[in-house]
């Protein structure tokens, strides 16, 4: 019984990680660019 339980949880858990990681990695890139761009604007305004 526990073999099946752990196998299912492992597949679900690891699979969720892979899917979420891929999605987050791609979507975070423009957010990082925005964060740095906003800070660049802040620097220009200060100057």
């Amino acid at each position: 019984m526990w073999k099946t339980i752990w196998l299912v949880l492992l597949v679900v858990g690891m699979g969720s990680f892979v899917v979420t990681a891929l999605r987050v990695s791609v979507r975070a890139l423009p957010e990082l660019a925005d964060l740095l761009r906003e800070r660049g604007k802040d620097e220009e305004n200060d100057q």
Binding site: K3, L10, T20, A21, V24, A28
Partner: protein, 499 residues
Amino acid sequence: MNFGIIDWGIVVLYLVCTFGIGILAARRIKGVADFLVAGRKLRINLAIASLVGTELGLVTMMFMAEEGFRNGFAALIIGVIWGAAYIVIGSTGFIVERVRRLRLLTITEFFEMRYSRGVRALAALLLVTAGTLGMGVFLKAGGMFVVHFTNIPEVYLNHTMTVLVLIVLVYTVMGGMVAVVITDYIQFIILGIGLVLATGFVFGHMGFGRLYDSAETLFAATGQGANPFSHAAYGWWFVIYMLIFNIAGCALWQPVAQRTLATKDPGIGKTLFRTTSAMFFARAFFPIMWGVGAAVYFAGKAEAGTLAATPQLLGMLLPTVVSGLLAAGMCAALMSTYDSYLLAWAGVIVQDLVAPFAGRSLSDKARVRLTRIFVLMIGAIMLVFGIWHQLNCSAYRYLLEVCTIYYAGGLAAIVAGLYWKRATTFGAYCGFILGALLPTLYILEDLLSQGSSHHVRDLCSGNVRGFLSFVLGFAGVGIGSLLPIGKPKALGYPEIEEK
């Protein structure tokens, strides 16, 4: 061992890039809000990547792998509880939603708002004590991985750790949270790839079915199977203790809370927890499977210690380039954890122990400078403690004890403070002190006797002791608040909208 020149090249290239980012980010620091919470401009995906990047630390990998090595498949219950706690918080917004609305820089600020400056200082002291004690173990675990995975002679363990700590100190001191966010993102990607590949190689070498059956045979010899509820190291007490513990962690653990506080709005905070629950399942599942693989491969024997077995296995199984990628990811994870935690504890010291008592004379610039100084001091303490202290239990158990020092009273105080109007300052003091009592006695006995004395340990199991600590914390806040000592402060925060 397959770790060669190419692998070292990958690791060095990564370290150089990380260092460069820290230098560049240093130019963009505005003030203490910038330094500590990236100016509260983190959006959801970057917040997730940054949180996971910090929490997917090498230390976590190592102690999860050690649990797998010692306890087999039953250890997977840890990941299940972790993920469940994040789902509970993410679905309900329990504690985190209200805290984010307060626009705090640290969680301990809440304790001054709701109770008094003294409670804030006590909370900060317990938090920093727990955090700093824990970081000594981080260093040991990190060192064991690097030495046994890359086959560096163990005599260079301390030198290796010193070099890594120095690199982390430089870019943390210079870059603050912006540097942390950027490097966390890169590390998130590299480590994610490394995790999947390493697990693929372990399963490819052994196969799940064969791994499970071999583990069952091996652990059956000690009477422990794959059922966590009947396992001597876990059981129902562990499940209850860990669920409460992890909920406390979501609300109180400064590196986690810093991401919550850094999000653009409270709604993103809840989503952050829901989405990262999958990460926290995997954070345990991947390394525990490596640990089980190591137990089967070495037939449960760990000549260099239970922490060393898994990196030794991975060093043997992974080919060149994959080893380099995993090593780079793990070094990145190590430094990511260090930089976030150094920043967290230094931030708490400055914001909660120094600034409230220095008055309004402490400028933003002075706070940033002080934070950097404390980062260096904590780094030095971490290095000395990590080299000197010998673990007398599993790394995971040790970390549970040190964190409970703060969590037990902290959870009671923050829950009562947010949801119970009658909670008083005296109650908060009682909660913190009573909650910290048992784990503090355990740690003190361990440190002072170097593991030779067991009086506190023999009183009850670690799981019962942990659960009782939370009970004492809540009892302290409850009973202390009901006593006619002091009056509760009104819950009049303009930022909180009562539902």
